[in-house]
């Protein structure tokens, strides 16, 4: 192992910085309604919806777990349907209505699905959870009383490495029950 370098090597008051060049990329304006609020932003066409939500709007609830749209951590609701926001360009969403995990609780009250994930221990590290909850919403919107098999089939597009899915399945069932009650 070579000797560790000293902090002084870096020049503590060194102001040697690279010049900051101008960044110019073609942008277009989009208007989007997210969780009930309307936003207007100039975006590069290649900006992915997930990066738009996280970096531009500041909604960091949806997560990025892969780049092949196979993990589902980035799932949000776009025009009433669950989609993987890592496989949609923000520019495609001009004029659309988007719901993210941050918009699920209303008036200071958790959504029944959130409540169910909490009660049933449907999460551990929590990274997949926003996507799981948004997909669960889609499952229950279409089928208010799903069987275990239908739940598992419905969650096919969402990976979780912590829970083994069992408590998630319980949470979806509990949410269905709570919604029916």
């Amino acid at each position: 192992m070579p000797l560790p370098t000293s902090a002084l090597d870096f020049g503590i008051f060194n102001d040697r910085r690279y010049p900051l060049p101008e960044v110019s990329a073609m942008t277009e304006t989009i208007n989007v309604n997210i969780n009930g609020t309307t936003y207007s932003h100039d975006v590069e066409p290649r900006l992915l919806l997930i990066h738009y939500l996280r970096e531009v709007v500041g909604l960091t609830g949806p997560h990025i777990g892969c780049e092949t749209s196979l993990c589902g951590a980035c799932t949000v609701e776009l025009s009433g349907k669950a989609v993987k926001s890592c496989a949609v360009f923000a520019i495609q969403c001009d004029g659309a209505k988007i719901l993210t995990i941050e918009g699920m609780a209303a008036n200071g009250k958790l959504h029944k699905i959130q409540e169910a994930f909490w009660n049933e221990h449907g999460l551990q590290c929590g990274f997949c959870t926003p996507g799981m909850i948004m997909t669960t919403k889609q499952i229950l919107d279409r089928n208010p009383n799903p069987s275990d098999q239908e739940i598992r089939h419905g969650l096919e597009g969402n990976l979780c490495r912590c829970t083994g899915y069992q408590h998630i399945v319980n949470a979806v069932k509990a949410a269905a029950k709570a919604a029916g009650a």
């Binding site: 290649r46 780049e67 749209s69 196979l70 349907k81 989609v83 495609q92 419905g154």
Partner: protein, 284 residues
């Protein structure tokens, strides 16, 4: 990861889109295959034409003995369409096997068909349905059969500047039974093998058999030898076995980490038997 920069257009009319495509732009439909490929920089189009804003490109319409399905109709629209479930259940059933909930919400029939992934689900059904695919360019429109459309891996009859405008499938009256049976590639959810079967009986004999196969080789195809072998028979279990064994005959089968060529061929026969039995059982 992150795609390269590109120019983006979202025309409101098909003509406008076709004009841009004629200049070399690439179409973007649901983006379920294209966008991940762009993120990995395996595909780097300079100009994307989003078909999502074109009015009247998403529809499912019955017209006489056929059903027209617009290019930007999503897999979810297809799987949940009462019209298709009633009158072309094979297509609806096949759509329900594609990807996952989120992918089916965004992915479109036109995009999937044009992409021609050799492991995609739709092509098997379209072969079995003897579907027609309407291709439109700036100056032309033509209709090709599914059999002629799927040429090779990621290669179709589409010419530069053309898009899939719609897919036409037949109305299956009573007396027809169908089934799609699929072996999942466990990681990706694509088909290791997918078999779409469509059979009609007259009396106790099989009057018509159509077997579409995906995943097995470089393109989806119709197993015509197997179809012929079944027609005129009663469809007994022994006959089904014999017919199913013909599905992979002479096919240069794909081989990869998830299934060798031998195993794929074997699965094709097992799942063909399964699909045939289910389809025959569904004849009302």
């Amino acid at each position: 990861m992150i795609p390269q920069q590109f120019e983006y257009s979202a025309p409101k009319t098909l003509d406008e889109a076709l004009g841009l495509l004629a200049e070399g732009a690439r179409p973007l439909a649901g983006g379920m295959s294209l966008i991940p490929m762009m993120k990995l920089r395996l595909s780097n189009p300079e100009h994307l034409v989003d078909l999502g804003r074109i009015k009247d490109l998403s529809y499912i319409r019955e017209q006489g003995t056929v059903i027209h399905i617009g290019a930007t109709t999503t897999h979810h629209d297809v799987e949940s369409s009462p019209l298709l479930r009633g009158k072309c259940p094979l297509l609806a059933e096949t759509a329900s096997h594609i990807g996952d909930v989120q992918v089916r919400n965004m992915g479109t029939i036109g995009g999937s068909v044009a992409h021609a992934d050799p492991a995609a689900d739709y092509p098997a059904a379209l072969q079995a349905l003897e579907a027609k695919i309407v291709l439109k360019g700036a100056k032309s429109e033509r209709t090709v059969s599914a059999a002629d459309f799927f040429v090779d891996t990621f290669t179709t009859a589409l010419e530069s500047g053309e898009i899939v405008r719609e897919v036409i499938v037949p109305v299956d009256g009573s007396g027809t039974g169908t089934s799609y049976q699929k072996v999942l590639q466990p990681a990706s959810g694509f088909a290791i093998v997918g078999i779409a079967v469509r059979v009609r009986k007259q009396g106790d004999k099989v009057a018509m058999a159509r077997i579409g196969v995906t995943g097995l080789s470089n393109r989806a195809f119709r197993a015509t030898a197997a179809e012929k072998a079944l027609e005129g028979r009663s469809g007994s279990p022994a006959e089904i076995q014999a017919v199913a064994a013909l599905v992979g005959q002479g096919v240069d089968a794909n081989s990869d980490l998830h299934a060798s060529a031998d195993y794929r061929l074997h699965l094709a026969s097992v799942y063909a038997a399964k699909a045939l039995a289910v389809a025959l059982g569904r004849i009302a």
